[in-house]
Each structure stands twice: as C-alpha cells, then as structure tokens.
C-alpha cells in the first residue's frame, strides 16, 4: 500500500511523457486522483487507536551502506499524506484546465514532485527521508525556473535567479542534514553495522555532545524549508516567480515537511538537545510569527501576503511542536493540515484574480464580490479559516497549540497570542482588498469581475469543502494522530528540570507517561 501510494504519481508521470500534448493534462489529473484514492483507502483502513507503524514496508536497498527502503504510515504522517494527495489533485487539475507550455515536461515534473513529497512523508529510514527531502526540490527548481514569471519589470529578479536563490538556501540546509544523518547513524552503530532505520535509531540514542551539533544541522534544514524568520530570504522571490499551479502545492505541502521533520526526526532522535534548545527554537518561532504577520500587513502583492502569512503560521506550528507537550504537538499536526488546506485555495484564488484583473497588486483590485458572489463566498470561508475563527478547525488547532505553550512556557504563549490577533488583520485585509471596496483609481478600468467558472469551481469547491468538513469534525484528525504524537512527545517531555527528570526515569515510568498517567506519579 505504501509503495503504491509512493510510486503511483511517478508511474503516471512517466507514461504521460509518451502521450499526445492534449491528453497529458488529464492523464496527470487522473494520476493524482488515483493517488488520492489510494491514500483515502489507506486512511480508511487505518487503525486509529494504535501508535504503531501501519502499512509498513521494509526491504534492504543498499545493504552495504545500511540504507533500507522502509516506508510506513502512522498518526504523524497519515493526514499529511492525505493533504499532499488532495492538494496535488487541486494543483494539477487547475493546471489541466489551462494551456501549459511544454505540457509533457510540466506534468511529468509535477508528478515527480508528488512522489518525492510523499516519499519524504512516508520514509521510515533516515537516509531515505533525506533523499526524498532533497529530491523534492529538483522538480520545483525546474517548474519555478522554466515556467515561472520574471519580475524584472518590477525591479525583481528573473525566474531563474529567484529559483537559484531558493535552491541554494534549501540545499545548504539539506546537505548539512545529509552529513548529520550519516553522523547519527555512524555514532549510533558505534562500530557495528550501520543502519539508518528510524526504529533502530530511536532505540540507540546518541551522546549529549553529538546531539547538540547534529540537532542544529537538522534544525537548519527544516527551518529553511518552512521558512522561519532569518532563513526566509528565498521565499519572497521564489513565491513571486512561481507558476501558480506549482505554488499551490508548494506552499501547501512543502513547508510542512520541515515541521514534520521536527516531529519525525528531531524530537525522537535528539531529545536532550531538543530540551536544551527548546527556548531558542521557540524564540525563532515567535520571531517568525511577529515578522510574518507584520510583513503580511504591509505587502501589496497578494502572493507575498499569503507567503508571509505562511511564515507566521509555520511559526505557530513550530511553537506548538517545541512546547514539547502532547497538546502543542497535537495542535501542530492538525494545524499543518489546516494551513495546507487554507493556503492552497488562497493561491488558486490569487490565480483567478490575476486572470480577472491582470494584476497581483492588492491596491489595484477590489469590488469583485459584487459580480462574483460565489467566488467571494468561497474566499470568505478560506479567509475566516485562515484567521482561525472559532468554529473552524484552525481555531481548534491554534487552541491546542496555545494550550500546550501555556503549560510549557507561559511568557512565550502570551506573545504567540498576539499572532492570533494579527492573523485576523491580514486575512481580512486580503479578503476586503480583493473582494470589496473597489478603489476609485481603478473604478472604470476594465476589471473583469467574472464569476468563477464551473471548471475552476471543481477545483476550489472540494478544497473549501475539506475546510468546512474539518471545521465540523476536527476529531477526525486528532483521534488518529494523538497516540503517536503523545508517544513522540513523551520521549522528550519534561517539567521544570527536564534533564533530571528524564535521567531518573525508568522504562516503565516512561511507558506510564505514554499512557497518560498524571505528571505527579512519575516524579522519581
């Protein structure tokens, strides 16, 4: 099952290379739909009460180097896989409704990107994870560079310069991660046979000193990918250069791989370092929230408003993970899915607005709601979900995150709350600026406030329905993720003096923690 999900897009992509240009878009859409079907089937058969790995595949791949072809689904990645499958259907279908230059290569790259992204989520071998993490970037490099937009007229870089910047930033992180991953395995093997299997590495912890530097190598890779404050330099240029169908999936999924990496790799493998550097990462996360929000207030390009709001949202998710409480991480996983589901339709809408107004500048848009009430209504739902309106799944997610953060670091929680307030401002600004109050300067220019077409509605409505569905029943995700998340967090969870507490804990007590026995009972 895991293998089928992983390779289905690539198989469709390869066959697509031999189809006529007209058919290849639909063929690619079919490929993503099949993948989604497989992912849904996996989710239906998922045993929600278990924290164990399901649909596991484990074959030796390069036995001499200790690398296994090892995949599996558990509570951490189940919904991220579903999210990936859903958004790719949206992105590819959206592209298929439009003419593309060199369509064969375009859809081939889109589908390669899906396989690589699914691989990063599915991998249960550290090296396989690193491999897919790097591979993910390659198709987007071509997609952004060759199908992207040059911004030289606005004083920005060309598409190829923007993508070069993106790939250099991201690979700086991931190459260091490659070294760190190998170091982790070599140190854990301690002279024996090397294995990169995450299960094996979980059992063979590293010394404190090694954890410290390896932690930062991994953290850098993940923080660049998100992107977090100070490491976000590639984001504005890349977001402006990207072709919108690719950006839909890129913004929706790829940023989450970074956050997912923290949960999958960093917390379980480097618990000591995680506790030690908790506050540093929290500071970066808070800085991302504040910086992303403020930038989202001031930008005028709608892509950048959405892009910077992602920086803020990812800051939130990071803060949730590094609360190191089950609540925070539960909320983070939920919020990863939520954010993917709101940012992808936002970019679809940006694409529709661009087609109607010919601009991406929020100052030159407006008044769309009058003639396109359905589009406006859909956007309103998305915007309200973005600002985490009570009743939306985003509200639940943020609530969990803040709850976890309050228990762990109350000061940080207070600052993080301001992010919630600010998200209301930028989400509403984006909605109002595009849909309402048409500015007088553009009153009589030929703005086409066309209603959303049936074909685009086919893309947008299901995505919005997902948002609504999750708002009604967020337990769908929480129930299935909780056991694994709690197990992950329990490894690093600590009170005021985490090191002492962890050190004094026996295996049995740790197990108690997993099963949820109150804190007081395990104090040594």
């Amino acid at each position: 099952m895991s293998s089928a999900i992983l390779w289905a897009p690539l198989a469709f992509g390869l066959i697509g290379l031999f189809l006529p240009n007209r058919a290849v878009g639909w063929w690619a859409t079919l490929g993503t739909v099949v993948t989604l079907g497989l992912a849904i089937a996996a989710a239906l058969g998922f045993d929600s009460g278990s924290s164990a790995l399901q649909y596991a595949v484990d074959e030796p791949w390069i036995s001499g180097l200790g690398v296994d072809y090892s995949l599996g689904i558990d509570g951490l990645n189940l919904f991220l896989i579903l999210l990936t499958a859903v958004l790719w259907v949206g992105g590819v279908a959206f592209a298929a409704f439009r003419e593309q230059e060199r369509p064969k290569t375009f859809y081939f790259l889109m589908l390669v990107a899906e396989t690589a992204t699914l691989g990063a989520f599915l991998a249960q071998d550290l090296l396989l994870f690193v491999l897919f993490f790097d591979l993910m970037l390659v198709p987007f490099y071509f997609l952004f560079g060759a199908w992207g937009h040059d911004r030289t007229a606005e004083g920005g870089p060309t598409a190829s310069a923007a993508t070069l910047k993106m790939i250099v930033y991201t690979l700086i992180g991931s190459l260091l991660m490659l070294v760190a991953a190998i170091a982790t395995a070599v140190l854990a093997a301690d002279g024996g046979h090397i294995s990169f299997s995450l299960a094996y590495l979980n059992e063979h912890g590293l010394g404190h000193g090694s954890q410290q530097w390896i932690f930062w190598f991994f953290a850098t890779a993940f923080l660049v990918k998100m992107p977090a404050f100070l490491l976000h330099g590639w984001m504005p240029d890349a977001y402006r250069a990207a072709p919108l169908p690719a950006l839909v999936v890129f913004s929706g999924v790829l940023a989450k791989v970074g956050a997912y990496g923290f949960l999958r790799v960093v917390l379980p493998l480097f618990p000591d370092a995680t506790v030690e550097f908790q506050e540093v990462i929290l500071l970066i996360a808070l800085a991302s929230i504040l910086y992303g929000s403020v930038m989202a207030f001031t930008q005028t390009n709608v892509r950048l408003i959405a892009g910077y709001s992602s920086v803020a949202q990812l800051g939130f998710i990071t803060a949730g993970i590094f609360a190191l409480r089950a609540d925070g991480s539960d909320g983070a996983v939920l919020q990863m899915v939520n954010h993917g589901l709101v940012v992808a339709p936002t970019f679809v809408i940006v694409a529709l607005l661009l087609e109607r107004t010919g601009t991406e500048d929020i100052r030159e848009m407006g008044g769309m709601a009058l003639r396109a009430p359905v589009l406006a209504a859909l956007f309103l739902i998305v915007a309200l979900a973005t600002l985490a309106m009570p009743g939306s799944a985003n509200f639940v997610g943020e609530f969990y995150i803040l709850n976890g953060l309050f228990q762990a670091k109350i000061v940080f929680a207070f600052v993080a709350i301001s992010g919630v307030a600010m998200s209301a401002y930028y989400a509403l600004r984006l909605y109002q600026g595009t849909m309402h109050n048409r500015p007088p300067s553009v009153q009589n220019q030929g703005l086409l406030s066309r209603e959303i077409g049936v074909r685009d509605a086919l893309v947008l409505v299901p995505l919005v329905l997902c948002i609504v569905g999750l708002a009604l029943y967020p337990q769908l995700i929480l129930e299935r993720t909780a056991p694994k998340v709690q197990q992950t967090v329990a490894r690093v969870q600590g009170g005021e003096t985490p090191e002492a507490k962890l050190a004094g804990m026996s295996k049995k007590e740790l197990e108690k923690l997993v099963t949820g026995v109150p804190d007081a009972g395990v104090r040594p």
């Binding site: 791949w61 390069i62 036995s63 001499g64 180097l65 690398v67 060199r102 290569t105 090296l127 491999l131 897919f132 790097d134 591979l135 390659v138 490099y141 071509f142 560079g145 060759a146 040059d150 060309t158 598409a159 190829s160 310069a161 993508t163 070069l164 790939i167 250099v168 690979l171 700086i172 190459l175 260091l176 490659l178 070294v179 190998i182 170091a183 395995a185 070599v186 090397i194």
Partner: protein, 501 residues
Amino acid sequence: MNFNEPHIDYAGISPLIALTVGVCVVLLSAVFKPLRRTAPLLTMVTLGAAAGLLIWQWDDPKTLITGALRLDDLAISISLISILTAAFCVLLSIRERATEEAGSGEYHALLLGSVLGMTMLAQATNLVTFFVALETLSIPLYILCATNLRREGSLESGLKYLIVGSIGSATLLYGMAFLYGGTGSTDFAGIAEGIARNGLDGDPLILIGIAMAAVGLAFKTSIAPFHQWTPDVYQGAPTPITSFMAVATKAAAFAVFLRFFDVALGSQLDSWQPALAALAAISILVGNVGALGQDSLKRLLGYSGIAQAGYMLGGVVVATESGTSSLVFYLAAYAFMNLAAFSVIVARERETVFGDDIRGVRGLGAERPLLAWPLTISMLALAGLPATAGFIGKLYLIEALVEGDYTWLAVFIAVGTMISLAYYLRVVAAMWMRPETEAAPGAQPVIAGASPEADPVDPEAGKRWYIAGPALLAAAATVFFGVIPQPLVDFAEHAGRSLFG
C-alpha cells in the same frame, strides 16, 4: 649453476599483453591504406578483449612478475573504468577534427598506449612499475592533447601538460628515491617492512619522501594547489581526449594513490593523514570557487574535477576498507556523470559556432531534449542531487569519512557541494530557462571564418548514434545506479576488500 625458469602467470598479464598487441596492430593498420578506416574498430576490439580478460580474473587476486604487479579486484575495477572511458572516447572521436589531423591510426594507438599505462598503474606494487606505468600513461596524453594541430589552444595545452606533468613526475621520482634510500626496497610491501625494520617511524628521510610522492601524485590527480594546469589543458585539448583525461587518468592515479599510501606507507598514517586531508579541503575550496563564473564548459568541468578530486581524496585519507570502496564507487559514478556531459559538449561543439561556451547549450531543453537531458542529469549528479549515482557516491564517501573520524572533512564536502550548486545549476538554467539578459540575436563569433571552428562542422551531430548513444547511455547509467546502486556497491566493495580484506 642452475637456472630456474621464473614462473610467469600469462593469464595474469594477459590484459596487458592484449593492450600491447592492440597498440602495435592499430599503429600498423595506419600504414596499410585499405585498413586505415578500421583503426577505431580495432581499438574497440582491443579494449573489449582487455576488458574480457580482466573480468575473467575477477575475484582471483594474484601477484605477478615477482611482486611488481598485483592483479586484484581494485586493479581490475579501476582498469575497467579506464577501458570504459576509452571506449567512450573512441566513439566521441569519430569524425573529430583531431583524429583526422593527427592520423586515425596514431591517435588511437596513443589512446590505447595510455590505457595500457593505466591498467599497469592500477596494478603497480613496486616503485619501478609505478613510475614506468605512470609515464606510459602520461606521454601519450601529452601528445593527444596537442593533436588538434591547427589550433593554437590545443598545442598550448599539450605543451603545458608536458611541462607540468614532467615536473610532477620528477617530484614523484625524487620522493621515491628518498623512500628507496631509507628502506632499501622498491616493493610496496618491502617499503612498509623496511620502515619498521630500520626504525624509520617519522624519520625526516621518509617524511620528505612521502611529501614529494604526494605532491607528484597530486599533480596527476589535479589536487589543489597543484592544479593550475587543469583548466587550461582541459580547455585546449580535443574534447574526447579531455573526457578521457578527466576520468581515466584520475581513476588510475587514485588507484596507485590508494595502494601506495594505504599499503606501503600505512604505518606512517599519522604523518600523512592530516596533510592529505588538508589538501583535500583546499582542493574542494579552490575547485568550487574557481568554477564559479566560468563560461567555457570544459574549463568549468576542469575546475569541478579539481573539487571532485578533493572529495575523492577523502577516500584515501581515511585509509579504511570503506574509504577504498567509496572511492571506487565515486570514480565509477564520476565516469558516467562526466562522460554524459562531455558527449553533449562534443555534440554542441560540432553543431554550433560557440564551441564549448555555455551559450552553446542555451535553450537546449526546448530544442533538443535528447541532448539536454543527459547534460541536465550529469550536472545534477555532479551536484550530488538524489536519484543519481552522484548522490549515492557522496553518501558513501561521507559515511566512510565519518566512520574514519574525519567528520570535519565530510562537512567540508557538504559546504563545497553547496558552492558547486551555483555553477552546475547555471548550466541547467541555461538549457531550460529563459536567459537572464536578452542575448543579442544569434551572437556571432568575433570574425567568421577566422578559425576552423567558426562554422558548425555538423549541424546534426547530436543526432548521430556515436554521440547521442554515449550521452544517453552514460546518463541512463547515472540514474540507474542512483536508484539501484547495489550492483555498483558490490563492485566497489570487492575492490575495497582486496586492499584491506
């Protein structure tokens, strides 16, 4: 007085015999007019025979000619890489101007002579065979570089290579003299024994010998700071020869690097290990920084070769079995990656007026996907991106380095790779993306007709089987061994075990 006929293992030296016979036959074929056109074919037959004889003796290590040579899996694997590269070079040389100017028979005989040197060098376990093989390898290459007789660049390249190569050889020879003086033996094993017997541990005599031998080998493998000749020679030489030089010479020189340092000087590990590690680091830095902003693809690959040599030197530095295996794996991967790139460069040199300039590949992705893909795969693989043999090679090397307590060098490789992205991706961007600035329409060479390259030789060159074939084959191998690396890993592990097992 009894005279005992020495035992000669003819099976063991059969590959060398085959190559020697081949050199003579190919050279003579040029004399007979009806046979003139058959030189490439005869060369391929010779290479095939030598490869077959080598594979026949796979996994059957033996010492030949009273310890002068050792035919083990390391020697065989390195020789096979050289032979493969030579076969590619023969294909790419078809209808190459240099072949016609220098005479097809002579050109191919020299090429085979160089392969003979490499095969011998990979087996050398004695200072004398080591040096003789190195010169057998180098002298034909000095000439081959200059075979493009009517081009100033080619002659300059040949002369430069000759002078610098001779300095390298002289340094190496001087170093060998010190080692022989100290230990009284020319055998690698004898040297190791002599150091122990004479109590020369850390003796200045030995240290000077090691240092000079290292410098000599660094010249041959183009390790910085002994690399200055590389970009110029690569650029000036005929492109098929450049590809042969870039890959095969490096492979053979690294084989003897491994044997000499890990076997003969294994006991002096502490004294040469940090020095070689420093050389590797310098090489990675110099190569990668030098390649930035190069417009000539051959120069770019020259600098990239310097950096890659730095990565590979890491496999020698750790002096372990996994280090040796990783180096052999990387050399094989390096062969495929570079051959794919050079095949495309050969095609574009003949198709366009730009020679090997990066402008020659502009817009290739839309026009000629069959040429663009091999070069793209090659560049991505050289940059170490996943799903290519380059990634697995780096993984292998880094794993060996971390195991051998050289994590800092592994980090250096990662840092070097980051820098390298800037220039590898520049080539990829030129092929697939819109140019950064609108180029003047069809930028013309300075004076049309002023040099032999001014007019495209063959506008369809990229579609010919003898160019498209090697390009696609090498690219396919690069991807194949990136996805299913196990066969190549086994191959490399055999080589590693033969030295340390």
